[in-house]
């Protein structure tokens, strides 16, 4: 039986938040994490959702961006609709690498892209996103996680994995 366990959810939310900050930094956008009223904006938002799953754990990550940080981070020639999906892919990919340090090896879904105003999930329990601001706009990350009964994240150790940006030639 899978249940939400707040301590695990909080740990994974922090990992996802760190992954988001690192990801945008790699694309030239410095994000400042904070706490603010993100829900008042009527600006359209692009978002992307990806799932991740393994034996003791399953979850979903929702990445929401205002146009500013999305367009600023997007490589030349790219389109916002495709880029938000790729950002979610790389965000959850980074989360996956971080989870490897806890001996958690998740499989990922492909991203789905959504557009709307005031996008947010309807979680089963009260949850807030990791909130980031940048002069160009706001970025939000929600993560919902359920784990098998009795599961807790073990102490982390160096993962058997490469690092983001690494190139290996054989």
């Amino acid at each position: 039986m899978y249940l939400e366990k707040p301590t695990v959810t909080d740990q994974i939310n922090d990992l996802a938040a760190n992954a988001c900050s690192e990801l945008f930094a790699d694309y030239g956008v410095a994000l400042a994490r904070g706490h603010f009223d993100w829900s008042a904006s009527n600006d359209p938002l692009l978002s992307s959702v990806m799932g991740f799953v393994c034996e003791p754990l399953r979850g979903t990550c929702l990445l929401v961006c205002e146009r500013g940080p999305l367009e600023t981070s997007c490589p030349p020639g790219g389109r916002a609709r495709d880029w938000i999906g790729e950002l979610a892919n790389q965000l959850v990919g980074r989360l996956k690498i971080k989870l490897l340090a806890y001996e958690i090896d998740v499989a990922l879904t492909t991203p789905i892209v959504l557009q709307g105003i005031r996008i947010q999930p309807l979680p089963r329990t009260a949850t807030e996103p990791a909130m980031f601001s940048n002069p160009a706009g706001v970025v939000l990350v929600w993560t919902e996680v359920e784990v098998a009964s009795g599961f807790s994240l073990p102490a982390p150790r160096p993962p058997e994995a490469g690092e983001t940006g690494e190139m290996m030639l054989f």
Partner: protein
Amino acid sequence: MKKILIVDDSETIRITVSTTLEGAGFTVVQAVDGIDGLAKLAENDVSLIILDVNMPRLGGLEMLERIQAEPKFSKIPVVMLTTEAHFSLIERAKKLGAKGWMIKPVKPENLIAAAKKIST
């Protein structure tokens, strides 16, 4: 001019890789997934394949298996470009004949260096 095939379901990644490699003097052909990649491979004489892992219809490691099973394609070098980083996957790609593994985001200079070193 050497021709490179980039296979990735992200249009932005395809554009970024193409722009970088074309700036370095290569010609680039794009494919949106493994099925499209195999079709483009049959139509083009390529010197290198840059291949994403997680794609719809046919993933990168599955496309790599089919490339290796086909004598007319098996000598074309393949480098994986992906968010995946687990050593077990990297080892699997190496055993399937891949010549390299790049974890996104890849620096343009690394991409160009790999293309110049590995392309036939």
